[in-house]
Symmetry: C2
Subunit: 340 residues, 2 copies
DNA sequence: ATGAAAGCGCTAACAA
DNA sequence: TTGTTAGCGCTTTCAT
């Protein structure tokens, strides 16, 4: 009687299950978290009772008592863009397999927004934090250091990570692509950087290092900034060909812009790579499908997420932390296709 | 002295701030959550103290005491695919603006995985749940009903939502595209459904309704299942043209496959739409860029997320719930381009 | 505007 | 293997 009334009013607790099963609350707790530590008989009674009262554990209370959560905070520069899809997938793969969950936030390429979100997410006491970002405000670094949780920074290879850095080198990859173009005989290589503030500097640095190695002088007039859209990619290639006819190769930081450029070349009947070669920093299914298919740097985006996720899992199991290396270079691949 | 030692050992609490500021813990709590309810003098002292001790609120304890969280659980069929990007962006837009956060999970098109995740996420006591899915196990429906939180189902228009249904009609949209093709004079219209289990049935139903309205008999031989890849789209159109030369239009459920088909037509020099017209169920930037650009149904994916997010926010403010309509049809647009 | 007391639902630590 | 006790760090409620 009383029971039925109460069930209407408040959600059942451990105690309700315990009473129903004729055991103590802690036994129910154990049977849920670590079934082997409870006798088979008790386990059976408890399973029945859980079903009967419709019990769903309150993880909030559990987290407060145990001082640990199963939530990893994931902060990305832009939640909707396809770029981070594979990384988030990799994180999810590693985390969900081990009973961890993701809380996700969008920092919009803004350090102050990152600061706001880091603080808000730390209030949830996550068991780890993934930042797809390597430059932070001083306050962020301080908050994260105090938090004493595993922190993975990704997106660039850096020398002084807060905790662990898992990434590829934008500089190396951009240099490799530039060298590839040089080795294929292209001499007047334009660089079309993405307008996103994130990795542009590093990619341009790699491009310049490549040029130097090829003994090609850097020409600022053919180093342009382009938004990451198909339209702007097309616009850029048109501008280059019309303004600097001796340009024979274009290296795009954005794979979207690179495809846009290639589609524009198709429309304009500019043969690729004979009239102009095109290479892209980032690979995509699409890059492999256009004609000619695009030469591109393949970044280990999925792998970054998976290894980051695995790191959080490992930290939780052996709870010593910081046993691994502080910086992991996952490398990249140059996929040569018809466009160069 | 004692203070400094303790700070090393455990994170500062409300009490530490309170002692530092010379007020009671509850005043600190108020000053954080509702600054106006505290005198300006106290507020100033407290702000200083928070900074001095490096206090980050423990939202876990807060949630347990207040019996409410700021977390919305978001379950999508596949976290990495670009399809859900705009929806998640819309959710994030509405939620983050109002101090709510997202926990995200991937149910992988599997009802049993959905059940597992719904239960796990309910344990976190979210203040709302977004499901990009409309068919559920009985247990999921029961759990969600008991949870007494706002629930948004999206992805299809349905008649018996658990709480609220915000979507577009797959049937209506597929019918509209089919009718469009009929009106443009195409008579032998193939349907290439996506192999994803999700909305395929509804889209095929719309296609058949459209055919019926056009007095065109349904021909099961040209209703095929195709994976959502560029390659398979190309393969499908090749198969159709080679096997059923009288097919004059192809309606793709997957925008990726549709673009793949168009690229294949370019390679094979099959003029579009003269040899064969192509239409796509879902729009994308890319669809607008290929030549000819693809006629496509534009789905309000961002808007679905934004309105769902707004619903959660509204429910939290007026805490009555279920004041709105139970089903919202956000419609769709048919964007006609060169491919039809 | 501020404070004191009580308790949210669970788990850690200890005991049996 | 099971139970008892004592909190986890906050917010609610009630008082002043």
């Amino acid at each position: 009687m009383d029971d039925h009334l109460q069930e209407r009013i408040r959600r059942p607790r451990l105690e309700d299950v315990a009473r129903h099963a004729g055991v103590s609350p802690i036994t129910v707790s154990r049977s849920i978290r670590n079934p082997e530590s409870v006798s088979a008989a008790a386990r059976a009674k408890i399973a029945l009772a859980i079903d009967a009262v419709g019990y769903v554990p309150n993880q909030i209370a559990g987290s407060l008592a145990s001082n640990q959560t199963k939530i990893v905070a994931v902060l990305v520069p832009s939640i909707g863009t396809p770029f981070f899809g594979p990384t988030i997938e990799g994180l999810n793969e590693a985390l969900s397999k081990n009973g961890l969950y993701m809380a996700i936030g969008d920092v919009g390429y803004s350090p102050s927004e990152e600061e706001r979100l880091v603080e808000a997410f730390l209030a949830q006491r996550p068991c780890g934090m993934y930042l797809h970002q390597t430059t932070h405000t001083a306050r962020v670094r301080k908050l994260l250091a105090q938090a004493r949780i595993p922190v993975v920074e990704a997106g660039s290879l850096i020398s002084n990570p807060i905790d662990v850095n898992i990434s590829y080198s934008n500089v190396d990859a951009a240099r490799a692509a530039t060298l590839h173009l040089g080795e294929r005989g292209y001499r007047k290589i334009a660089f079309l950087s993405s307008s996103r503030p994130s990795r542009t500097k590093e990619r341009e640095e790699g491009y310049r290092q490549g040029l130097k190695q090829l003994n090609i002088p850097f020409d600022p007039r053919i180093s342009l900034s382009v938004t990451s859209t198909f339209e702007d990619g097309g616009r850029a290639i048109r501008y280059l060909i019309e303004t600097y006819p001796d340009v024979d190769a274009a290296f795009f930081s954005s794979p979207i812009a690179a495809v846009g450029a290639l589609l524009e070349c198709q429309r304009q009947q500019w043969p690729v790579p004979q009239r102009i070669a095109i290479a892209s920093f980032d690979d995509s299914d699409l890059a492999a499908q256009v004609s000619p298919a695009l030469t591109a740097i393949r970044l280990p985006r999925y792998e970054v997420g998976r290894q980051a996720g695995q790191y959080f899992v490992d930290c939780l199991n052996r709870s010593d932390m910081s046993a691994g290396l502080s910086s992991v270079d996952l490398g990249f691949q140059l996929i040569q296709r018809g466009s160069t």
